[in-house]
Chain length 331, copies 2
């Protein structure tokens, strides 16, 4: 089994764009988010339509920012958390561009980067857009309770990010822009966590497995990377990851950050941080990309993490499998 996908030509991340809801825009990532929303309905009649509009706006702005036309993009690779990934599919309806729908829950951003990276690196396509997003209010009412119910959130819970983020992956070489160097596709790992409010714990074993295989296969250690960025393990999940990875011999305590921890001013007694497909998409494509572009980071691991549950699987008594896809990005 091959653990590592090596991008021989190192496709360039030509541009990124992010959009954040009011809560996200007021947080620590606010100054890096490209478009800040005053209202999380974004002028639409439902939260679901607002979610797809955020994704659509992201793709539009990516094309515009690069001064491209739609025909300059060979494919859009996208997914989201809603049933049947309708946000991504309805976004793609607005463009005359081929579309590949992907879903690995909150790890969809790095999954799309891996597939997009391969398609460009191998020369099948010149440029692809990878984008994903989520919305607190659509996720909350789909996965948990009606919003009007005002349910109490347990201390181990996370807050689904309202936001979207995406990037253009291109075969155009630009020495000043960040590049995809290699990738490690995640396995589905399930340690038997059944608490749908404790997704950090459910995802941490998968995150550990992917990092372990990446370090082992590339003969590297955590010190070889300026930063190891996980998706949305949250404060508690991050602690679990650090502990179980240390048991395997790798110490990431000095250079690990989690997008879920970065995006909000976390009050520990309130919640564990952000989550959702939009969480890693917003933080990676704004703050992390900016640091890479400014060469403040030279080599990082970006690994979005996903909890592969559904309301049906929870109601039928299943535990929550996790997955984590990693990409190594170099500036």
């Amino acid at each position: 089994m091959k653990n590592i996908i090596e991008f021989k030509k190192k496709p360039t991340i030509l541009a990124t764009f992010t959009i954040g809801g009011p809560k996200e825009s007021c947080g620590p990532m606010g100054k890096y988010i490209h478009k800040k929303l005053d209202c999380d309905k974004f002028g639409e009649s439902s939260f679901e339509k607002a979610e797809r509009k955020m994704l659509t706006y992201t793709v539009e702005q990516l094309i515009k920012h690069c001064k491209f036309q739609q025909e300059d993009i060979d494919a859009v690779i996208s997914g989201d958390l809603l049933n049947q990934i309708i946000s991504a599919s309805f976004m793609a309806r607005n463009f005359d561009i081929p579309y590949l729908g992907v879903y690995n829950a909150c790890s969809t951003m790095s999954e799309s980067l891996i597939i997009g990276g391969c398609l460009v690196d191998a020369g099948y396509y010149k440029r692809v857009v990878c984008a994903t997003g989520s919305h607190f209010s659509t996720a909350e009412r789909q996965y948990r309770f009606p919003l009007e119910f005002g349910s109490t959130r347990p201390p181990q819970s996370q807050w689904t990010v309202t936001g979207a983020g995406g990037c253009v992956i291109s075969n155009e070489f630009d020495k000043d822009l960040p590049k995809l160097a290699l990738a490690c596709v995640g396995k589905v790992i399930d340690f038997g966590v059944t608490d749908a409010n404790n997704m950090g714990s459910a995802m941490a074993p998968a995150a550990m497995d992917t990092l372990f295989r990446l370090f082992k296969s590339t003969n590297t250690t955590p010190k070889d990377y300026d930063l190891i960025v996980t998706g949305d393990l949250g404060a508690f999940g991050s602690r679990v990851l650090k502990k179980i990875l240390l048991d395997k011999g790798y110490d990431i305590s000095s250079n690990h950050v989690d997008c879920g921890e970065l995006i909000y001013n976390i009050k520990e007694d309130d919640f564990q941080g952000g989550s959702g497909a939009g969480c890693s998409a917003v933080v990676f494509n704004s703050y992390i990309y900016q640091l890479l572009k400014e060469k403040k980071l030279k080599k990082i691991i970006f690994m979005a993490t996903g909890a592969l549950l559904s309301t049906t699987s929870c109601q039928q008594g299943d535990s929550i499998p996790g997955i984590a896809h990693a990409v190594v990005v170099e500036s």
Copy 2:
């Protein structure tokens, strides 16, 4: 924009496996289906668990049939129709193999073949498994009505296939086995159909668009292919496709078949044929693959078709976007 992905090394479809429910096993495809179920619960406590067991069994048998171990497979690419593609994710939980979750509704089989084909053709991976499935009873109660309700089905409706199918895509050359030659990734096309019981009509425009771009970009005509196999347009949707493609100058009336029409002994006043991610997966990986292997077919287009709706999008008044991904397979 690049319409065509050309597989330079033409990856081999090393093996296929299919499993069918009782209704499917009694139909015209029965003699080609590898594993026929007597009971659509497959020994499980719920239809959802039966669906994931069919997918798991398919992947297990593919590995076994090729005399491989799990470590000989570099990735599993899979998706299904359930919310959050839980059948695919829980299937992948049973294997120690990296997993990419994909979703384009009933066109997921050809989508997975395209992504898997690229990963193998470009040399990132040696062998991948592409598999998908569906189940009448899980789809019916998720998308439409509780099964106990016994709702009347309108004449334009289709019957979701209970079954799963998959194949091993490999870089091993074998002149006697079918190969992936090229692919055309679909665009999301929406002609405004809002009847969730008439998915053939919703998908036909997307099928037309993909075939049109494939013929145009490869400078071929329908006559250059022994068979043009669509996924689950059904009887009515197939008629719509033939009509609107003829308007564009391409006549596929003499060599078009639809997996949805092939799988059941269709009574036209009853329903329009099969549908679901398992429909094209079962027919392609049993009957069509067999004909290719026997060289009774030399060059075909396999194009699974998908309707990108969800109950939420329907309830919020959205129309049904369609998509169709095509692969050209040569014997």
